[in-house]
């Protein structure tokens, strides 16, 4: 009995760190096309997923994806449900108080979408209904810039927000440019258009990790550099957008 216990303890001691190094659990939302979404067969696909797989290949570890609703994605990381978030998360000061970020893996600006031909301009948004996903920089931007002058509606997922834009419940959608671009090019987005100037909020998208997990951050940063240099990154970029999003 005692022998077994010792053997078990020994094998655990050996296996423990080895496992931890080989597998990185990655939290993502799976509802944010084209960056991360779940296809008809239930598989995670998208830019974030391709980048994550490329980074893991570069780091010689296995990626294991965990899907998590957006507004619980940081609490999930803190609760150790996964080790990193690769889900198009903006690097913001508020988030930095709770988590650390790697270097950026792409950049983003906020775009404004309206019904084609609607007489809405960025200068006269007063009294209009603006929509965005809850807990995003778009939602934050609306509150900061327009505050009480506009009616704000926040959604659990970006997909639901687009459904309401189609239904006419909101006049203006504020959304990450890449996501808006993808939607306008889909069937659903046909009757809609970008307007005004994109808000450049200096938005960089990074990988969130728990505070102090420097080893993982360094590995990710090195891997981001490596896939940028090797051309793997631009290949993935070209698969989704005809312009450079880094």
């Amino acid at each position: 009995m005692r022998k077994i216990a010792i053997a078990l303890a020994a094998s655990l001691a050996l296996a423990g760190p080895a496992l931890a190094a080989d597998k990185v659990r990655i939290g993502t939302e799976g509802a944010y096309p084209p960056f991360n979404q779940i296809d008809a067969s239930g598989k995670l696909i998208g830019f974030d997923i391709d980048i994550a797989n490329a980074l893991c290949a570069e780091m010689k570890v296995t990626c294991e994806f965990v899907t998590q609703d957006w507004d619980g994605i940081i609490p999930g990381l803190l609760a150790k449900k996964y080790d990193a978030i690769i889900a198009s998360m903006s690097i913001t000061d508020e988030r930095k108080q709770k988590v650390d970020f790697t270097d950026r893996y792409y950049s983003n600006s906020l775009s404004f979408i309206r019904k084609k031909g609607a007489s809405i301009e960025q200068a006269n948004l007063k009294g209009k209904t603006l929509g965005a996903q809850r807990a995003t920089i778009a939602a934050e931007h609306i509150e900061k810039m327009y505050g009480k002058n506009v009616d704000v509606k926040l959604y659990d997922t970006q997909e639901n927000a687009f459904l309401d834009l189609e239904a006419g419940r909101i006049d203006v959608m504020v959304v990450d440019f890449g996501v808006g671009y993808n939607w306008l090019n889909s069937d659903a987005g046909k009757g809609f258009e970008f307007f005004g100037k994109n808000a450049d909020v200096g938005d960089h998208i990074g990988i969130a990790i728990r505070k102090g997990d420097k080893e993982l951050a360094d590995k990710f940063n090195a891997a981001i550099k490596a896939i940028r240099a090797s051309g793997v990154y631009s290949k993935i970029n070209a698969k989704y957008f005809p312009f450079d999003i880094y």
């Binding site: 507004d71 988030r95 239904a167 006419g168």
Partner: protein, 232 residues
């Protein structure tokens, strides 16, 4: 993991305003739900097979599908149809507030109708026969004997239903409403403090349910006070 009480105090007023919306949603949908439940409950015990089957279909659908699906059908589903968007109902259905009330009322209406049906069928036959012996018409029999008795019999079960609805109302947050849960989630999006905020929100729900169960018990005692007199 430290617990930040200051955060709870800072955001408590906003949680309370969310709780106000929760109570409002429950109050209005319960009232509308009762208005649906009485006719549907009567249809359920009607002699006409058409009325019985119609009411059964309604009850079967709303008890057999998740409330979340019902809310999504009303909010995101109806708005997909051009005809609905051009109809006179759109100014109402455009607003998540009314969509939530429609979904909650239809849902609770179905459950309440079933409570009422069961209660009506539990009214002792002897009382009905006695009323008949007095020569009461069916309408009078329902008004004077069956319905008042059924309300007393079904009251505790109805109290349960309202409590279920309070908890179900958290789903209003999925259609952009800032009810207690919606407010909590929005605050958490800013503070990343789910433990503190959800705990505070949970306590507010508990307080609402506590007050409500007390009120229901008071009313129950009042409804049945004639029984106390008899036994005393």
């Amino acid at each position: 993991m430290s617990f930040d009480l200051g955060l709870v105090i800072e955001y408590f007023p906003r949680l309370l305003s969310g709780a106000g919306l929760t109570v409002e949603l429950i109050a209005i949908s319960s009232l509308v739900g009762i208005c649906i439940a009485v006719p549907v409950g009567l249809m359920r015990v009607s002699a006409s097979p058409t009325l019985r089957n119609l009411s059964l279909a309604y009850v079967f659908f709303f008890r057999g599908t998740p409330l979340l699906i019902q809310i999504f059908l009303v909010y995101y589903g109806l708005s997909q149809f051009e005809a609905v968007r051009n109809s006179v109902l759109w100014p109402f259905l455009r607003q998540p507030y009314w969509c939530a009330i429609v979904a909650f009322a239809l849902n609770t209406g179905a459950y309440t109708a079933e409570i009422l049906r069961g209660a009506m069928q539990a009214v002792p036959r002897g009382e009905i026969e006695a009323a008949r012996a007095f020569g009461m018409s069916t309408a009078l029999l329902f008004r004077r004997v069956i319905l008042p008795r059924a309300v007393r019999i079904g009251w505790p079960a109805y109290g349960n239903e309202v409590i279920f609805m309070i908890k179900g109302s958290a789903l209003a947050s999925t259609i952009t409403l800032l009810d207690l849960t919606g407010m909590a989630r929005t605050i958490i999006a800013k503070t990343y403090a789910p433990v503190e905020i959800f705990l505070a929100a949970g306590l507010i729900y508990l307080a609402i349910v506590f007050v409500l169960t007390r009120a229901f018990r008071r009313i129950e005692a009042r409804l049945n006070r004639y029984l106390l007199h008899e036994s005393a």
